[in-house]
Structures are given as structure tokens and as C-alpha cells.
Amino acid sequence: MTLLHCLILAFILFTIGIFGVLTNRHLIGMLISIEIMLNAANINFVAFAYFKAQDPTAGTLFSIFSIAITACEMAVALAILIAMYRKHHSLDVNTQEINHE
């Protein structure tokens, strides 16, 4: 268990999240993938805090705040999703009305 391994792990999770965002057609599925990406970033913080940083507390605290922010984002996102669901009765990514030339 070295810093490098933790970072690699975090990045693997990040790429898995990316993969999920790119392939999931369900909007909530995409949100889940984004959760995984954000979580990976937190791992980075904690790993750096543990292995390298002169000020380890700050890093860990940053990730706690980041969890809170994630929660906020999710809350708003889900609110919008629900509003959308009321309108379309679907959460498919492909549903769209904005006209593109």
C-alpha cells in the first residue's frame, strides 16, 4: 500500500465512473457514476493526507466538505430529475426537445 497505489486505485475508480457516465442511459445511473468519480477524488485527498502532506488534517477535512457538496449537488440533481420525470415520465438520456440546427 503506497501513495502511488492509492492514487492509481482512485483513478481507476474515476475512469470507471467516466465509463459509467458515458454508457448509462438512465439519468440516475449517470448520477451514480458521477458519485463514483467524486468519491475517487476523496480517496486522493485522504491518500495524500496520509502519505505526503505536511498538513494532513486539511486534506481529510477537504474530503468531508466535498462529500457535503456532493450531497448538495445530488439533492439538486434529483430535484431536477423529479421535475423532469413529472413532465416526461422517463429518465432516459435520449429524451430531448431542444432543437439543434
Binding site: 500500500m1 467516466i18 440516475i28 451514480i32 458519485e35 496520509y50 462529500i67 456532493t70 445530488m74
Partner: protein, 179 residues
Amino acid sequence: MILNIPFSDIVFYFVAVFMVLLSIAAVSSKNVLRSAIFLIASFLGTAILYLLLKAEFMAMAQIMLYVGGVVVFIIFAILLTSHLGENKLSTPISQKFLAVFLALTLLGVMAKFLFNTKELSESITQKSPEASSLIAYGERLLSYAPNGFVLPFEIISILLFMTLVVAITIAKKDNKEEK
């Protein structure tokens, strides 16, 4: 040889594999609810990882906030909106292929970068145990010192309040508005 590996390392690799697999399952499962469950499991793995990294407070927060908060939130949303995974949405295989390609390229590039960065593999400084104590966190959080976190703490509370306001405004069913 194998005995030389510390126990924590074994747990780390085990947890890492576990997390990766669960995450893959979470993102590729057709059923959203199942995805959410996998997500919970993956987050639990993260919590274990935090424990290994001597961030007990963080592990706790992970479980409480993420698993207890965010994911439950998601599950609520799933239950509110979908008919329990009845409509299975599938993406074209070409898109999946491209996504894998893109993700792997990014991973490859970053992995190469991280491996090439010397200071990462060199740094093995262990942090002092008192830094990760709950008291330390608490003191930092409420400290007015130049590196204290009281200001972010205030801001995040505003942020949370604001989120409440806007999320409710958006999500609530408004009779006056609908007519």
C-alpha cells in the same frame, strides 16, 4: 516473501479489487436500484480504505454522509421515479466500446504519468497519529487560525441551506403553478 507483506497491505489490495469490481458492477448494471446497492457496497469499501489510511473520522463520515445520506437519497429518487427497473435502457455497443476505449486511454495516460512521477513512489511519510484524531479535526474545523476551517464551515452551511431552498422549489408540486 509473502509473509513480509504487512497485513494492512493485504487488506488494501483486497479492498481495492473489491471496490473496483463493485464499481464496475454499479456502473454497468442495467437495473438502477441494483446499481445503487453496488454503490453502497463500493462506498463501504472506501470506508475501509479510509480506515487503512488512518482516517477513522473520514470513514465514519463516508458511511454516514454517503451511504446514509446520498445513496439513500438516490434510492428514494429511484423509487419515486422508476417502476423498479422495469424499463431497461440499453446503450448501443459501439458507444460502450468507445466509452471503454476513452476510459482506458485516460487511465493509461494517467497511470503512465503517475508511475513516472518520482515523488509519488518515494513518499512514504506516515503522518503523526494525533493529526487524525477526532479532536484535531474538531479543533481545526472551528479554529479561527489562518489555517482554520471555520469559514468553510459557515459557507457549507449556507450552501446546504440554499440547496434545501432550491431543491424544494424545483421538486415540489405546485398547484398554483400548474394551473
